[in-house]
């Protein structure tokens, strides 16, 4: 690939439009507030077809009839939905002239995470020169994917370019009537990603390793749709280990996964939204609906590392519709200071011989509250369904809380359901033991926490796992005096 410098620059510019998550088409901003006109305007600004606008409007109408849920084990001030701007053109990338202008604390964290200087600039919104590396990576990336017929683009683009696929699947796994925040998201979602893997194709790379950079600027209401056609495979990575200092308080994303017959989707998330300060001020509310549907002999595996957000409310779930399908959920949720997390999964067994595995590791420090909430439901037709659940909690100090709320509904007596739960505390004797071997207290905690989380960390793609380990260390820094 013999590019000239000029060509490279040009290529990169257009690529940002084509392959970035954000389409820079409009510069209008809609004033704060939410009503039907606003929803129409969003759809219009994004140049969406009528069916999409209608769908948004139906969702909005339904949402106005709904009440904000309050059953989760978290306390927060309810957002004022009329005080949010639901559409603003993507912020101009250039926020700072150089890294020197960026909060030094943030830079310190980046360095600990081993994030390259160029990437740091992108994440903080510093103007960036053309980076040779990124160009070649992106080019190779695009070529490899298109050769295999894989579609990977922003959802806005997919609505225009692949309307049949989007129309066929959008809202089929998470209907807008599903819950309050799913309805809101359906009405006003700004952007997100779309991925389609054709029949029999094994996606040759972890999707989104390159896009990690772009994702730092993700909007408030993100929408993701991943479709794995028959006998295909994809591993999808979402999120970013770098701390995201977003001014938007409310984040309500929807992720839908469709695994057709014999397909497999592996979906890994690392979430590190701003958790608020040490006194519990500020921080993101993360109210996410993530769900996948498994057709015959297919498999969906969710792996998540949740360390950020002031309030997290998230249950990546699997509907095991097809016979012999498999659902997995591996989770590490860390809460520190005043963070609150209510997270878990739902495994809905509809088909015969369906299997599900749940491994949840909750780590609480400071004055935080960490809850696991999980539902295992075996429907009457689900003969020989099996589930194994394991929920472990690790406490640090005396002021935090760990809670487990397992729900089990079995309507077929051939079902086998196992549930194991443990709660432990990092002991001073463990810390002293490490200290005596020359390991300082912060490192000792990291070691103990990583050991505790190992079963889940092992499920992450290698590169992500290393970052996630570092992230765990950083999230718990200063949690023991």
């Amino acid at each position: 690939m013999a590019y000239t410098e000029e060509e490279l620059k040009k290529e990169l510019e257009t690529k940002e439009y084509e392959y970035g998550f954000y389409t820079d088409i409009e510069s209008d901003t809609i004033p704060v507030g939410l009503n039907e006109d606003v929803v129409r305007k969003i759809s219009k600004l994004k140049g969406e077809p009528k069916w999409m606008t209608d769908w948004r409007i139906s969702a909005f109408k339904f949402w106005t009839q709904m009440k904000e849920p309050d059953w989760s084990n978290v306390k927060y001030k309810k957002p004022d939905f009329q005080d949010i701007s639901y559409y603003s053109a993507p912020k101009s990338k250039k926020k700072y002239d150089s890294l020197d202008d960026v909060d030094p604390e943030l830079i310190k964290t980046f360095n600990k995470l081993g994030i390259s200087l160029e990437e740091q600039k992108k994440l903080t919104g510093v103007a960036v020169d053309v980076v040779m590396d990124s160009v070649s990576v992106a080019t190779t990336f695009r070529e490899t994917l298109s050769k295999k017929g894989i579609i990977f683009c922003s959802i806005s683009e997919a609505i225009k370019e692949y309307p049949d696929l989007v129309r066929k699947y959008l809202g089929t796994v998470v209907p807008f009537k599903d819950n309050y925040y799913a309805a809101l998201n359906s009405a006003v979602f700004s952007d997100g990603s779309f991925c389609y893997i054709p029949k029999g194709v094994r996606c040759p790379m972890e999707l989104s390793t390159y896009f990690r950079i772009n994702q730092a600027g993700t909007g408030q209401f993100e929408r993701t749709l991943v479709i794995a056609d028959e006998s295909s495979y994809v591993s999808y990575l979402e999120g970013c280990t770098a701390p995201s200092r977003d001014e938007n308080q409310l984040h309500a994303a929807v992720v839908e996964l469709v695994a057709l017959d014999n397909a497999e989707i592996k979906y890994s998330t690392v979430q590190n939204w701003y958790p608020g300060n040490k006194h519990g001020k500020g921080g993101v509310y993360n109210f996410v609906t993530k769900r996948g549907i498994c057709h015959k002999n297919s498999k969906i595996s969710w792996t998540q590392v949740e360390t950020g957000s002031a309030v997290t409310w998230k249950y990546p779930s699997c509907i095991l519709k097809g016979d012999n399908s498999i659902g997995e959920f591996y989770s590490i949720a860390v809460t520190n200071n005043f963070q609150q997390a209510d997270t878990g999964t739902k495994m809905i067994h509809l088909g015969k011989n369906t299997r599900s595995t749940i491994i949840s590791k909750g780590i609480s420090a400071g004055k935080s509250q960490n809850s696991y909430r999980g539902l295992v439901k075996i429907e009457p037709r689900a003969k020989n369904a099996r589930n194994f659940s394991q929920c472990d909690s690790l406490l640090m100090g005396n002021l935090c809380g760990a809670h487990t709320f397992p729900y089990i509904e079995a309507r077929n007596n051939s079902a086998q359901i196992e549930h194991e739960a443990t709660t432990s505390k990092i002991g001073e004797d463990q810390i002293f033991y490490c200290n005596q071997r020359g390991i300082d207290t912060e490192k000792a905690i990291a070691l103990i926490v990583n050991g505790f989380s190992k079963e889940v960390l092992n499920k992450l793609p290698m590169e992500f796992a290393v970052e996630a380990q570092k992230l765990l260390e950083i999230s718990l820094e200063g949690s023991v005096g």
Partner: protein, 249 residues
């Protein structure tokens, strides 16, 4: 190397050590014996820097460093090692990963780079062989589900890996059958040289048949009441601690 002067220490406000004096030179092995509750394990905890124990009087010098001013990990970096009487479990952390982290922490503290993986592996193999440890053992979670003998063998394995200047063995013989005891003692003996010192804390004379001490001290009610050669241990075995108690009174 180690000089303890008039050491007094309390735990939970209760005075356990009431004026210990001890000097240990490089190459020497000192045994501390004494009945239950005499303060043997407290002495080990105080030297290694357990914060539950408070020094109220006296001092501990190690190579001219005042240990009371240093954190436990800083003492470890200077070469102080404690083989715990009750080693703790750390689930999910393998024996290998733990020792790797320990070694590299000490190296970092002394301004050295991490030990290259190949050298680490070579060293692990060598020391594991010394203590009759197989590779499966090395991949197990630290002390989790270990038998008493395995725990102690693992302590000595860590000692062999870290190559400390001063090793304190706190009741390393407790819970060991005779075969395990021989393996552990053999491991210790192979590490003895003219640079290193050992403080062997034991209730029974049995261990001292395999690790021959240069000096034996009898600790009683927080003080060293008698010191002597290996013969003293034999005499204790024969006559019991009552003999000492009577002698003091």
């Amino acid at each position: 190397m180690l000089i303890i002067k008039n050491l007094h220490a309390t735990v939970d406000g209760k005075e356990i050590l009431k004026g210990i004096n001890l000097e240990l030179k490089p190459g020497e092995v000192h045994a501390i014996m004494g009945p239950n509750g005499s303060g043997k394990s407290t002495l080990a905890s105080v030297i290694s820097g357990n914060e539950d124990y408070i020094i109220t009087k006296g001092e501990i010098l190690f190579d001219d460093n005042d240990l009371s001013e240093l954190d436990a990990e800083e003492r470890a970096h200077l070469g102080v090692f404690l083989s715990f009487q009750y080693p703790v479990e750390i689930p999910g952390v393998t024996v290998t990963n733990f020792i790797k982290t320990a070694i590299n922490s000490s190296r970092k503290a002394t301004g050295k780079e991490d030990l290259p993986a190949a050298e680490m592996l070579k060293k692990i193999r060598e020391k594991a062989k010394l203590l009759d440890i197989n590779s499966k053992f090395l991949s197990r979670s630290l002390n989790e589900g270990f038998s008493g003998g395995e725990k102690k063998r693992n302590e000595i394995f860590q000692m062999a890996m870290l190559e400390p200047k001063l090793s304190i063995l706190d009741e390393t013989d407790s819970g060991l059958d005779i075969d395990a005891l021989k393996i552990v003692a053999n491991g210790v003996n192979k590490l003895r040289d003219k640079e290193n010192g050992f403080l062997v804390i034991t209730h029974y004379q049995r261990l001292l048949e395999y690790i021959i001490p240069d000096y034996v001290h009898v600790l009683f009610e927080g003080k060293i009441v008698k010191s002597g050669s290996k013969e003293l241990a034999n005499k204790l075995e024969e006559k019991g601690y009552d003999w000492i108690k009577k002698e003091i009174v």
